[in-house]
């Protein structure tokens, strides 16, 4: 029983976090930080899930979070590997330097 705290609050919080994450992806040029921002977005989603799970007493919400975390881990593995290999060839993690293909 958490009086005073309504789903609305949680939703707003997660929404804000999610947006901040998205913002991060848009404004940062450091690919690692962009990537972290994406993680932030995922977490915002998790927060929403847990909140909903709690508010409607449906455990599957929490299970979903579990999977999201797993996926996040997998993404990180691939993503960091990519960043590393890009760094090897371009010796930079500035995403804007990765822009030969265009038009």
């Amino acid at each position: 029983m958490i009086p005073g705290v309504s789903m609305t609050h949680i939703l707003i919080l997660s929404g804000v976090l999610f947006t901040l994450g998205a913002l991060g992806v848009l404004i940062r040029r450091n690919s690692i930080v962009m990537f972290m921002a994406i993680e932030l977005m995922l977490n915002a989603a998790n927060l929403a899930f847990v909140g909903f799970a709690r508010s409607m007493e449906a455990l599957s919400g929490q299970v979903f979070v579990f999977f999201v975390i797993a996926v996040a881990a997998a993404e990180v593995a691939v993503g960091l590997a990519l960043i590393v290999s890009v760094y090897r060839s371009r010796s930079s993690i500035d995403i804007d330097k990765v822009s030969d293909l265009r038009g």
């Binding site: 848009l26 995403i95 822009s99 265009r102």
Partner: protein, 681 residues
């Protein structure tokens, strides 16, 4: 032998010329000139025989007959068949055409023999007779057709053969193209007339529901006053056709140029037969003319005016054939006027008469020309730019070409209308009727008759009298017997032809009555006859005063020039009609087409609409112009392609910056837009 069977033979009259044509076309080169000539003339001869048989048949069965061959165009109500209508009018024409035509064919054998050599391409000899027979066939279809449409077949057919024969020496004439252009002019001008003819047929069909003469006239009779309007329109349109074919104002300009054809052509087509088709066609439509209101007067005026105008122009010609050409136009004017005042028989009579003496005149002119040309070619020092048609280089041929001179004289007198020659009766009949019906027409015709006498006398004097004005004229010799014989025959006709419709018995009138119902017998008015004859004699005298004593020197000016002053210039320049048309129509049309083609089509529809309207609207959306451009580039290689199209497609390519974060923005924008849509709906 019954009339029916004889009528059954009628199709042969068209078949024979066609056969001759075919034979000459296929075997022409092998059977040699003589063969070709014989075949062609024989074909016409046989046709003449058939015509005679039809005449006899009509004697047995005056009603005539319609000989059906096959159906042609049958669509619903529209039923047109290949069929010949044999009646007195048709037979009259058949006889004239085949008769005169046959004589001219014979004459042509000899004439062309020399002509092809003068012009330097003997191989064309057979082709001439192919065309000649083609013409005869077409002309006979014209006169025998039982419906407007079948008549129209012949109508256009003669136009075609005249086109071919005028441009027979297609590489000669002014800057080598003159003759070809003359031919084209003839055809196109005729087409203008045909336009009228076609529209006339359209109206006829939708008003009377048929196109065969019999039925149309029956219908018209039944409807009576109800058909007046239609009859007027139709006859007017038909008259447009006649104007074209019979070279009346305003479309007479093609006929003088048509003299580019060899002389037999001028004689046969542009004097005796084809040009009279218009008169025949109008007479054929007498029943409608009777109904029509305005038309006859218009026809009469136009005819008379033409007669006058042409006669005046003829006075100032130096080219022996051109004089005759304009004389032909003016005589055709007489006939048209006759039709206009309702003197159908007179018209036909004059048509026949004219066929005789005008053919005669042309042929003798031809004989003169060749005589001179012969001399010119065999002469020791042939001068350059020697024109054997120019009367100013002739003179004194009376003694050198006796036969020709005499027959020519007969023809001339017949034309002038000196009794008892054929011209006297025929022309007098017209004048007599005119004096009763329409004084204006009468006086115009009288004046032109006066001029006629003058210019023909002038010609006679310049050609045959006085002293030779050139070596060639001196050395001129009489033409071969083969040419003279037909001349003589025609001369006889010109002299005795009057009997065909001499006053009193009027055989032709009675003969034609079978076809043209209720035609009043034209009575002989002595006063008119005497008056005109005297007038003619006066003008001949005048001519002698002017040309007889001091003949015109070659290249010299005409004595009249000083006397008439500006008037002379006017007639000399043919009243500037040709120039006017050229300025008004030809130039305009040419520039119009240029404009349409270059400006409207090329620049506008092609480049402007396609490359400026369609294209940029694509560019705006899709850089279409670039793609067109680059299409053109494809030929030269894709080198420039990338650059150009990229420039064109900048619109979209710019957005594809290659920066991931921009792409992310796009995604984000999409999201926000969609959410806002859902919020706002």
């Amino acid at each position: 032998m019954t009339a029916g069977t004889l009528f059954g033979l009628a199709p042969l009259i068209i078949l024979f010329p066609l056969l001759g044509l075919a034979v000459n076309m296929i075997a022409g080169r092998r059977i040699g000139e003589r063969g070709v000539g014989i075949v062609a003339s024989a074909a016409i001869g046989l046709a003449f025989v058939i015509a005679m048989l039809q005449f006899i048949a009509l004697g047995m069965d005056p009603d005539g007959a319609t000989v059906r061959i096959a159906e042609w165009i049958v669509i619903g109500q529209l039923e047109i068949e290949w069929a010949l209508q044999i009646d007195s009018l048709a037979v009259t024409m058949m006889l004239t055409v085949t008769g005169v035509g046959g004589l001219i064919h014979i004459y042509a054998i000899a004439y062309m023999h020399d002509d092809v050599r003068f012009q330097g391409d003997p191989s064309r000899f057979p082709r001439f007779f192919v065309y000649f027979n083609l013409f005869m066939a077409a002309m006979l279809i014209l006169v025998t057709g039982n419906s407007y449409l079948t008549m129209f077949v012949g109508w256009e057919g003669v136009g075609l053969s005249s086109y071919l024969l005028i441009s027979f020496w297609y590489e000669k004439g002014e800057d080598g193209i003159g003759n070809a252009l003359a031919g084209k002019k003839a055809f196109v001008v005729n087409r203008i007339g045909d336009f009228g003819f076609i529209i006339a047929m359209l109206v006829t069909f939708w008003f009377f529901g048929t196109l065969t003469f019999e039925e149309v006239f029956r219908e018209a009779e039944v409807m009576g006053t109800a058909a007046v309007g239609a009859a007027t329109v139709i006859t007017l349109l038909l008259f447009v056709g006649a104007i074209g074919k019979s070279a009346q104002i305003p479309l007479f300009i093609w006929l003088p140029d048509a003299m580019a054809g060899p002389t037999p052509v001028s004689a046969l087509i542009h004097a005796a037969t084809m040009v009279t088709a218009g008169i025949y066609m109008l007479v054929r439509n007498a029943p409608l003319l009777e109904l029509a209101t305005v038309t006859p007067d218009i026809i009469a005026i136009v005819g008379a005016a033409t007669a006058l105008l042409a006669a005046s122009i003829a006075v100032a010609r130096f080219d022996i054939k051109r004089v005759l050409a304009y004389s032909t136009i003016s005589q055709l004017g007489f006939m048209i006027a006759a039709v206009g005042i309702g003197a159908y028989v007179a018209a036909i009579f004059h048509l026949v008469a004219h066929a005789f003496f005008k053919a005669l005149l042309f042929l003798s002119a031809g004989s003169v020309i060749q005589g001179v040309e012969h001399a010119h070619h065999h002469g020791d020092s042939p001068e350059e730019d020697f024109n054997p048609n120019d009367m100013r280089v002739m003179g004194g041929l009376r003694t050198r070409m006796k036969a020709t001179f005499w027959v020519y004289l007969m023809g001339a007198l017949a034309l002038v209308g000196i009794p008892p020659l054929v011209g006297f009766f025929s022309k007098d009949e017209i004048l007599a009727d005119a004096s009763l019906v329409n004084p204006a027409v009468f006086w115009m015709l009288v004046i032109s008759a006066f001029l006629t006498a003058f210019y023909i006398a002038r010609q006679a004097l310049m050609v045959f009298f006085g002293k030779p004005r050139s070596k060639a004229a001196e050395a001129a010799k009489e033409s071969s017997i083969l040419m003279v014989a037909p001349l003589v025959a025609l001369a006889i006709l010109a002299v005795g032809g009057g009997l065909i419709n001499g006053p009193g018995l009027l055989p032709l009138t009675h003969f034609l009555e079978e076809t043209l119902e209720d035609i009043e017998e034209s009575e002989f008015i002595a006063a008119v006859a005497i008056f005109t004859t005297i007038l003619a004699l006066i003008s001949i005298g005048l001519a002698w005063l002017v040309y007889g004593r001091r003949p015109v020197m070659s290249g010299g000016t005409d004595p009249l020039q000083s006397k008439l002053g500006p008037l002379w210039t006017a007639i000399r320049r043919r009243w500037w009609v040709d120039e006017f048309y050229d300025w008004l129509i030809v130039r305009r049309y040419v520039s119009l087409t240029r404009w349409l083609a270059e400006v409207v089509d090329d620049r506008f529809l092609h480049d402007w609409v396609h490359d400026t309207v369609i294209a940029p609207s694509y560019v705006r959306a899709t850089n279409w112009l670039a793609s067109v451009v680059d299409l053109r580039l494809i030929d030269r290689g894709f080198d420039g392609l990338g650059a150009i199209t990229r420039r064109g497609a900048a619109g979209l390519s710019v957005l594809q910056t290659g920066y991931v974060r921009n792409y992310a923005v796009a995604v984000f924008i999409g999201l926000v837009l969609v959410v806002s849509y859902l919020l706002l709906r």
